[in-house]
Each structure stands twice: as C-alpha cells, then as structure tokens.
C-alpha cells in the first residue's frame, strides 16, 4: 500500500453532520413514533383518500398527503421507521455477532473447523440474495420475525469472511505467539488479542450493512414477502402506491425518499467511520 496521505475516501465535503442528523432523526422517529406522528398510521378514513401533500382538511394538515385508504403518509413513514430500525438493529447485531465469532474461530483454529465454516460461507455468499430471501421469507411466513431471521441467515457470511481474513493476518503476530507461550487459552487469545484488532473493520462493515438490510426488508415487503399489513413498512407503502401512481404519486414516492435518505446517511456514516478508524480499509 503506497502513501497514505491521500485521504481518498468518497465522503462528500459537506461534512458528516447532515448524515448524523438524518440518522438521529430516523432513530428518534422510530422510538417516539407514538408522540411524533400526527395521525394513526392504520386508521382508515375513506373520505380523506388520496389527498395531495400539504392538503389542509378541517384545520389539520396532511403534510405528505394520504393514500387510497385515507391513511396519513407522514405518520406511516414515522411508524415505518420503527420497523426498519428494529429489523436493522436485530439483524445487523445478530448477523454481525454470529458471523464475527464464527469467522474468528475459523481463522484462528484453522483445520477442519475452518474448512466447514469457509465452505458454508462460500455457499451463503454464492446464493442469490433476493431469491434466497424470498424463499426463506415464505418458509417462515411473512412476519417481522421471519424477516429478521432471513437477514441473519443471509448476512452472517459477510462478517465471517471479513473476520476470518483479518484473523489470519493477525494470528501470526508476535503478541499472539507470546500469549500462547505464556499459556493463554485459545478463548482468551481470541477475546483479548484477536477480537479488539478485528472489531474496527467489522464495525465499518456493520454500518454499511445497515443500509443493505433496510433495503432488503423494503424489497421483501414490496414483493409481499416481508412485513404483513397493516403494519406500515416503507416497502409495503411503495407497493401500495404502485397501483395509483398516476393519480397519487406521493404514496410511493415518499417512502422511497425515506429509504434513500436513511441508506444514504448510513453509507456516509460508514465512510466517515472507516476514515476515522483506519484509512487503510478503503478497499471496502
């Protein structure tokens, strides 16, 4: 690797603040949806169907309009954030933990365990994501739990591969050999020497993974294999609006913007994190 003074990250020069702000807003909206949303996300009100954004009816403003059942889009987006956050948090955390642990074990122990784990990783990475997600989602019946499980099953392999690669680099280092000579057990070495040095790249991977997971959940919901109605999910909202695109484009447009903004922010955050933790990780 040549001179490191280039700072060749893809971060936009606006600074990381807008991204932080959006992510904070996203989390805030998800957690405090009950207090934040002006209307109920599931209450059907046919007399108010298909209102354009900024419509004012009877003194109340529908900032983002309503869908064909009269449900307020803004409220549904706020509640939808909750779904996305839950799936993203559980999914990334679980996939990340399981994958990292397996990856470190594989990289450190080598041998048969490594072969088994590596082959499994290869197979998982080779599977067409969407197709696998669809099949799994239908096996587990469309539900929040099902989607979370799908996410874990699909993404653990990425963490395992990354962790294993990093572990392979580290295990030949002096301090590891010294620890072994001193009689440390494998578990201690993996926890106290290997893991702290591997965790940085895994964290960066996790932040990028958040965006991917949210998009996957939205895609599954869009295709009808994700979160079932009436729970608002950004993906389902896009699907809902598909039939009335001509007359009420905002029904599909708004949730898509929400997805794009959140994924964008988490990608920018990932770039920033990577630059902070280790510019050498640019290759991610």
């Amino acid at each position: 690797m040549q001179n490191g003074k280039n700072g060749q990250g893809m971060r936009l020069n606006l600074g990381i603040l807008p991204a932080f702000f959006i992510l904070a807003l996203f989390i805030f909206a998800a957690v405090f949806a009950n207090y934040l949303a002006p209307f109920s996300p599931t209450e059907i009100n046919l007399s108010n169907a298909r209102l354009t954004p900024l419509s004012v009816v009877g003194g109340v403003t529908y900032w983002l309009g309503t869908d064909q059942l009269g449900r307020d889009i803004l409220s549904r987006i706020i509640y939808g954030a909750r779904v996305s956050l839950i799936v993203a948090t559980i999914g990334v955390f679980a996939a990340g933990s399981i994958g990292s642990i397996l990856g470190i074990i594989a990289g450190y122990r080598g041998g048969a365990i490594d072969s088994i784990i590596s082959r499994s990783v290869d197979v998982m990475l080779g599977f067409p994501t969407i197709l696998l997600a669809l099949v799994l989602a239908i096996v587990f019946r469309p539900s929040l739990f099902g989607v979370a499980l799908v996410v874990i099953l699909i993404y653990w392999a990425r963490y395992a591969r990354q962790a294993r690669g990093e572990t392979l680099k580290i295990r030949t280092m002096d301090y590891v050999t010294l620890a072994r000579t001193a009689g440390c057990s494998d578990l201690t070495i993996m926890m106290r020497h290997i893991f702290p040095n591997v965790v940085n790249s895994l964290l960066v991977l996790a932040t990028f993974n958040v965006g991917t997971v949210i998009t996957l959940e939205a895609t599954l919901s869009f295709l009808g294999a994700g979160i079932p109605p009436p729970t608002p999910s950004w993906g389902t909202m896009c699907a809902d609006g598909r039939g009335i695109l001509v007359s009420a484009w905002w029904v599909s447009f708004m949730p898509g913007i929400a997805i794009t903004l959140v994924v964008l922010s988490s990608n920018l955050f990932g770039d920033w994190l990577r630059d902070k933790l280790d510019p050498q990780l640019r290759d991610l």
Binding site: Q2, N3, N6, Q8, M10, L12, N13, R119, S120, D122, V123, L125, G126, F127, P128, T129, I130, L131, L132, L134, V135, L136, I138, V139, G211, T215, A218, T219, F222, L223, A225, G235, C238, R242, L245, V246, W249, S252, F253, P255, G256, I259, T260, L261, V263, L264, N267, L268, R282, D283
Partner: protein, 307 residues
C-alpha cells in the same frame, strides 16, 4: 498454477454440492406441493397416488439422490405449475435476462470507467463532486423504487418510453437503467479509487520520469493496473444483475428468469425453484473461478501468493 486451479475447482464443486442440498431442503420447507396441487375434495387415497406419481413418497435421501442424478444431466424435473420440463423454461427465458443483464453491464462499464477516470484526474473539482454524488446516491436508492419512479416519470408522465414488455430497443432502456444503476455507482467508486491509487504510485512516477507523455501514462499504464479490482467487481456485477433482475423483471413484466423465479417461489414450484437457485449458484462459482484466473493473468504478483 495448475494445482491452484484444481484446488479452486474442487472447492467450487464442494460448494455446489452443499448448495444443492440446501436448495433441496429449502424447497421442501416452503410447503407441501402435493397438497397445493390437489383440489380440496381429494381423498387420502388420491394424495397417495399423486405422491407416488411425483416421487414424493420416497424417503428424503432417495428423493435427493434422484434429484441430483437427474440434475447433473440437465433434467430438473417438471414444473409443478406449468407441467413442462423446468429446463425448457430456463432455456426459453434465460436469453431475455442475459441480454438485459449484459446490456446493463456494458452500459455500466462504458459509463463508469471514463467517469471514474475523469473524477480521479480532476480530484476535488466539480466534476469529481458530481461523479461522487451520482455514485453515492446510486448505491442508496432501492432498486424497486427507482424502477417504479422511472416508470412514473418516463412512461406515464412523459410517455417517452414504454413500461412493460420487450418488443424493441426502447423497451430495454428503463429496465436496464433500473438494474444497472446500483452497480454503475459501485463500479464508479471502484474505478475512481483504483485510479487514484495508481496515479500516485511509484511505477506511474517512473513512467513519467521515462518521459512518456501524460495522456499515455494515464490511459495506458494507470488504467491497466486500475482494472484489476474492477475486473473482480465486474464479475460480481454480472451475477448481481442476474439477481437484481428478480425485482426489475417483476416491475417491468420482463419475460426473463428473474420473474420466473419470483413466481416459482410464490407458487411453491419446487422443481423450478431448485433448478433456478442451482443455476444461479453454479454461475456464481464459475464466475469466481474466471475472476481468479484473470487475476493470475493481470497481476503477476498473485502467482506467488498462496492463501
């Protein structure tokens, strides 16, 4: 080198076998197809007859063996939904998807390589900023949303381009953009950073010292070395395009294997699901092998580095 290749090949086959077992298991888990196919009035006796006919009454390992031995010969069984051999459908619809994926990949390459080079050489200036924004945005938008928005703007509002079907060149434009936007963005970032890497590297400086004109330096030397990670990524792009086609083809009613796969899952069409997933995994493995091969060719350093 030959040993390296043989090992990779064997690994690939093992992965394929594992994948086939997983696929076999998964398809079975989605539900009982015999039950799906029988009308509600069917009796247990009818169930028996149908099971035996389709071979579902045999123990699982036997079913698996039958599946594998046929699959190797290209016989993926008959589609439960269409009653015709799966392989027929795959062969019939694959060209449409492959053409679309290729078109998108080519367009991807043509757009991102020059733009990536420009962004790298004009680093920090407005061209770079524009390219970077385009790339980051592209990787953040969900594909399905881009698809329906494109339809809304170009097909419905402006009426310039058609929204479904594939009867002519104009029908390709929107689906190709939808599939390709994501990977174009990724390829763009990669080309740009690979170019930046190389532009400041030692051998580029050496080439300059030798007196080679600037333009030549950039395009010939820098690009060839920058292409290495790009080649890797391109292989993955191609496979991703095949996968991203599931969503895009469903939205644009494109008669390809992506849509076929989606419908197969919805209808619990085991043989179809198995065949398609196996196909995709097989392609992925083959592509990785090809990439490994070209790695050895493009970067001589790799030959001496074993895992």
């Amino acid at each position: 080198m030959a040993r390296y290749l043989t090992i990779r090949l064997l690994e690939g086959i093992v992965a394929l076998v594992i994948a086939s077992i997983v696929v076999f298991g998964l398809a079975r888990m989605t539900g009982d197809p015999v039950q799906l196919m029988l009308p509600d009035t069917a009796s247990p006796a009818d169930y028996e007859v149908m099971s035996r006919q389709l071979g579902f009454d045999k123990p699982l390992p036997v079913q698996y063996w039958v599946f594998i031995s046929k699959a190797v010969r290209g016989d993926f069984g008959r589609s439960i939904r269409y009653r015709r051999p799966v392989i027929d459908f795959i062969l019939e619809r694959a060209p449409a998807t492959i053409k679309l994926a290729l078109a998108a990949a080519v367009a991807s390459f043509l757009i991102s390589v020059p733009l990536g080079v420009i962004a790298a050489t004009k680093r920090g200036k407005w061209q770079d900023l524009l390219v970077k924004s385009f790339a980051i945005l592209g990787q953040s938008m969900p594909t399905f949303w881009l698809g329906i928005m494109l339809i809304q703007v170009f097909a419905v509002l402006l009426g310039w381009l058609p929204a479904a079907g594939n009867m002519g060149f104009r029908y390709w434009i929107l689906p190709a953009i939808t599939i390709g936007y994501h990977s174009t963005a990724g390829l763009l970032r990669l080309t740009r950073s690979a170019m930046l890497d190389v532009l400041h590297s030692d051998y580029e400086r050496l080439a300059r010292i030798k007196g080679i004109p600037d333009r030549l330096v950039i395009w010939k030397h820098a690009l060839r070395n920058a292409l290495i990670p790009v080649v890797t990524f391109s292989g993955l792009i191609y496979v991703h395009l095949l996968m991203g086609s599931v969503v895009t083809e469903t939205i644009f009613a494109w008669p390809g294997i992506g849509r076929l796969a989606y419908e197969a899952v919805i209808y619990r069409d085991f043989p179809m699901i198995q065949g398609l997933i196996l196909l995709f995994v097989g392609l992925y493995i083959i592509f990785n092998l090809i990439i490994d091969l070209s790695y050895v060719y493009l970067d001589p350093r790799v030959k001496y580095v074993k895992e």
